[in-house]
């Protein structure tokens, strides 16, 4: 069973693998069960790049996708 602490640790590892490294990823969060990856747009190229980047992590939880658009100040 995955505890909240486990999820927070997983989220940080996913964030380190994606944020600022994979174009089109705007964030990583925990709004529901599993991990949610936030995207500028849901395209096959972005999903493929994300899946390649997180594959080595072998995540034991479900990955959700959510389109946010690009963030700005």
């Amino acid at each position: 069973m995955t505890t909240p602490g486990d999820l927070a640790d997983l989220k940080r590892r996913v964030s380190d693998a994606l944020l600022g490294k994979v174009l089109g990823v705007t964030g990583v969060g925990l709004p529901a069960q599993g991990i949610t990856i936030y995207l500028e747009a849901d395209t096959p190229d972005i999903r493929a790049a994300v899946e390649q980047a997180i594959e080595p992590l072998r995540l034991p939880v479900h990955v959700h996708w959510q389109v946010t658009g690009k963030f700005q100040r």
């Binding site: 944020l19 964030g27 969060g29 658009g69 963030f71 700005q72 100040r73």
Partner: protein
């Protein structure tokens, strides 16, 4: 109207927690810091922790009074910034609040700095600083108060 007294520098290549600043009103400034239009006074000087599905509201400079619902309270996000030389860098933030508008957009450019308030208790829960057309990003207000070394006031 006011003089900047403290701000938190956004650092590249690390996870930041807040993007905030504070200013002291100059004498005679036509403002009432204890009252937010369409929101009123805070229900308490003690913040309330943000929670998924919490119903919130804010009054902002651009979009005025809007309502929303918290979608995430622990999102790590990236937001583009410029340094003092005009060079763009990506600011990374950890454990942020994400909000969606109910209905429509919760915020847009120019709303940064809006205090986000829990609709049920009128207690502060976040500080708006970025977003997209569909999602608003806010710092947890406890982190903002700690970073700036300040506290909330009511009547």
């Amino acid at each position: 109207m006011a003089q900047l007294t403290k701000f938190i520098q956004i650092k590249p290549n690390v996870f930041n927690k807040v993007d905030c600043a504070i200013a002291r009103f100059l004498p005679g400034a036509p403002v009432n810091p204890r009252h937010m239009p369409s929101v009123g006074k805070l229900g308490s000087t003690v913040p309330i922790a943000a929670a998924v599905n919490m119903l919130v509201m804010k009054t902002g400079r651009t979009t005025g009074h809007t309502r929303g619902q918290i979608f995430d309270v622990s999102a790590d996000v990236t937001v583009p910034y410029e340094d003092k030389n005009g060079n763009e860098f990506l600011g990374r933030f950890s454990n942020q609040i994400l909000i969606v508008g109910t209905p429509g957009s919760f915020s847009t450019n120019g709303d940064s700095g809006s205090l986000i308030v829990d609709r049920a208790t009128t207690r502060a829960t976040g500080l708006l600083f970025a977003g997209s057309s569909t999602h608003t990003i806010a710092n947890h207000i406890e982190d903002v108060l700690a970073a700036l070394g300040v506290s909330l006031v009511t009547a």
